[in-house]
């Protein structure tokens, strides 16, 4: 090996700062924004309080769920679904009316999901089979289902009184997985006590008495399962020669595991694991799997990347569009359930602007406006970043109107970064 070859080899092995920034732009932005808000003069550390973290999850549940569906649509070629806000309201309206007239909660939940799915299938039919541009078909849906919501609700708010529904899908005091461990083993109360100064020093005096051990244990379990899965994956990849260096993988595994533990810890300090988080995690997990591991997921990316080439590869591209829009309908149904649960009822104006939040989360999370690229993980970062900025601005007391301005600027800058980094590659 000559000197220059050695140097070249070393250069490729060593850490490339520019590439690092390009790949993790949004994660870095998220960290920076969080630090800024947590160091804000007079509001130090407020954003990282357990109650605020729990609130962040509850308030943005609909964004995670809708953005997942939106991502599938965007993948097919930058197509969006403008109707989701109205569909959320409509499914919630039907569900609330059903429950108000005494329907079984599980029947109601299934009906709401089915209505969402049916709407998705219907809109997908117009888009995929009749080739009405997605923007227009869903704009029509946005008007129509807003109107239907008003009709169903007769213009008035309908409340939910079913406690089971509110517990599972809302964010009241009861909407948390109960601390079964400490309920079983009451002897633990002597350990989680202010007198136990060693532990109080770690957890914090304010939180130790009500520390939710079940949530912490579940969090630790999740982190452990994640680490084991990653280690197995890294081993296989190493064996096959897919990756040469395990460094990056190990570091990211450790960071994500620590993050899971940290979130679990924070949640344990407040009321524990909210049920909403379980629904979100389920949706994200299922769709991350669909997009990365299944044939239909592959087809979504392929259609967005090059529809003609995909069609010539024997894929029924129209059905791929249909799949994407049917899915976002189903997820809008779920978002309707969560929205109704959180608001303990439904008002004819709920859900307005939800579609835009979902779209923004996808684009901030690195999805291409032309389709073909974008990941669930990126979308999660995008949604969290928006949520943190929202919450942060409320905490530091930014005027509500300016909050919108800031959101707009963030979206613009995020997409600009994306476009610029892609242009450099070409």
């Amino acid at each position: 090996m000559t000197m220059s070859e050695k140097r070249a080899a070393k250069a490729t092995r060593s850490f490339n700062l520019g590439e690092f920034f390009q790949k993790y732009t949004m994660i870095i932005a998220l960290v920076v924004v969080t630090i800024i808000f947590s160091r804000w003069p007079g509001k130090e550390g407020l954003i990282l309080l357990p109650s605020n973290l729990t609130g962040l999850i509850a308030e943005n549940a609909y964004v995670f769920v809708l953005a997942t569906g939106m991502l599938l649509c965007i993948l097919t070629g930058g197509n969006i679904d403008l109707s989701v806000g109205s569909v959320v309201c409509f499914t919630a309206a039907v569900g609330c009316i059903m429950m108000a007239s005494g329907a079984n909660i599980w029947v109601t939940v299934l009906a709401m999901l089915a209505i969402g799915l049916a709407i998705g299938v219907f809109q997908g039919f117009w888009i995929a089979k009749l080739r009405v541009p997605a923007f227009i078909a869903t704009l029509a849906g946005m008007y129509a289902f807003r109107g239907f919501s008003n009709v169903v609700l007769n213009g008035y708010r309908v409340d939910i009184t079913n406690q089971t529904f509110l517990m599972l899908f809302g964010n009241g005091k009861t909407s948390f997985v109960p601390d079964v461990i400490r309920q079983q083993f009451t002897g633990l109360d002597s350990i989680f006590n202010k007198e136990n100064t060693a532990l109080a020093g770690i957890i914090g005096e304010n939180f130790i008495t009500n520390f939710n051990l079940t949530c912490m244990v579940l969090g630790a379990l999740a982190a452990l399962i994640f680490v084991i899965a990653r280690i197995r994956r890294i081993r296989v990849q190493k064996k096959l020669g897919i990756i040469q260096s395990t460094w990056g993988q190990v570091v990211s595994t450790v960071i994500i595991a620590l993050l899971v533990l940290w979130v679990a810890f924070k949640l344990s300090c407040y009321r524990g694991l909210p049920y909403v988080l379980i629904w979100i995690a389920l949706v994200l997990g299922i769709y991350a799997y669909i997009t990365t591991k299944t044939a239909i997921g592959r087809h979504l990316y392929a259609v967005g990347g090059n529809e003609k080439a995909t069609a010539l590869s024997g894929v029924k591209t129209r059905n791929v569009y249909w799949f994407a829009y049917a899915n976002i309908g189903l997820l809008a149904g779920l978002a309707g359930i969560l929205t109704a649960g959180r608001a303990k009822g439904i008002d004819p104006v709920y859900g307005e602007g939800y579609e835009m939040d979902a779209i923004a989360a996808c684009f901030i999370g690195g999805a291409s406006a032309y389709g073909g690229t974008g990941k669930v993980s990126g979308m999660i970062i995008g949604a969290i970043l928006m949520g943190v900025i929202n919450k942060g601005m409320i905490i530091v007391g930014v005027d509500a109107n300016y909050q919108k301005v800031v959101k707009g600027i963030v979206l613009l800058i995020a997409v600009m970064f994306d476009v610029l980094s892609k242009r450099q590659k070409r």
């Binding site: 591991k293 044939a295 592959r298 990316y301 090059n306 080439a309 069609a311 010539l312």
Partner: protein, 514 residues
Amino acid sequence: MANILLEMKNITKTFPGVKALDTVNLQVEEGEIHALVGENGAGKSTLMNVLSGIYPHGTYEGDIIYNGQVCRFSNIKDSEKLGIVIIHQELALVPEMTIGENMYLGNEVGHKFAINWNKTYAEADKYLKMVGLEESSKTLVKTIGTGKQQLVEIAKALAKKAKLLILDEPTSSLNEEDSRALLDLMLSFKKQGMTMIIITHKLNEVAYVADKITVIRDGTTIETIDNHGKEPVSEERIIKGMVGREITNRFPKREGVKIGEVEMEISHWTVHHPLYPERKVVDDVSMYVRKGEVVGIYGLMGAGRTELAMSIFGQSYGVNFSGELKLDGKNVKMKKSEADAIRHKIAYVTEDRKGNGLVLSQSIKVNTSLANLGAISSHTVIDGDREYAVAEEYRNKLKIKTPSVEQLVGNLSGGNQQKVLLAKWMFAEPDVLLLDEPTRGIDVGAKYEIYCIINDLAAAGKCVILISSELPEVLGMSDRIYIMNEAKIVGEMKAEEATQEKIMTAILRSGRGA
């Protein structure tokens, strides 16, 4: 001797990895019609793009001397200001606009903030009369035929005060009658002192209108022929210049491959244009291909080769199909579906790898498996490790040069992209491969490797149909050659019997006879 209006001196233009033009020289006298001929990809259009400023000064080497002055165009506007106007092969008219609007698009008459429509239409009518069009300039472009649209393009060029008019294959989409009218129009312009450059494949047209003929081959000027003799220049004379290259070892030998029984056969295969169903794009074609055989289909652009191949591949192009398709001696009624074609073990490797072939934003791995995801997944769940292994296997087999199969296809060179495309279709395990221009736009080394892959496929008993507009390639690679022109098969010969002259003659004869 007349004044030299344009001189292009030692023009060299390189694209990444390819030298498109190599010290090309061109002299055009004032008031003449100068024809530029050469095979597809010889560099004619590139040369004209250099001249018109589409490739701005600085992206090429050499000088453009126009009217005695060295010109450095940085865009089309610069060259148009001097009266150099190019009419592209693809008509650049907006169908939903009127003729007048189209003619002055980007060149609007009147005040900066208010177009003077009266003047626009009056002027437009004047130029339309000059090209012999009776339509009003307020007619929508979409309502007139392609022949008349071509005339509108010329009127548009005249409106730009053209002194040097460049026509890039102006008659490629016209019928015989319209073509003749257009050529006569060119001759009448010549009488009025206009200078023109015409790029064309139709050599009878060249002999008819051109004063001088410059032959370009492989990016260099071969010769300039004077057409002022008593007899018009013979087509054979021009063809010789166009194709007269030596063929030594450009094609690997295929030895000991046994040609088996007929695998696929089509008879009376007819396909109509999807937008103009009255037009036949494939007209009563019958052909067959045997196991282990490489069958070449040669024809000029627009002869209907791609349309033929795509119509066989699950009717992915065209409408109103008729004719029979036999696979392994059995009649097959294929649905209008690419998936059905793949099930019947037919693969179509497109000529347009970026547009129709590859998903550039995805990795080599993803592209390789796309046409046969079923083979690496169970219950529609993809086995990532198996997929990786498959991609690796083909990377080694086809010698795709890349650090990893996770590399995005968009970042690969043309030759490697072509190999990925081939890998994708080889992984689909077809019996019949329709290869449409498999070596277009890739360098000589990669071409050789693609030829080796073709030989391997034949040796494995596959049927290969090789569509190409490069004559030497067809001659060097095929066992048997079909010649296609104007939607028909106009000749079939064994490779041993075929020569470039014979093939060209077959095409030109059929074209004139029509």
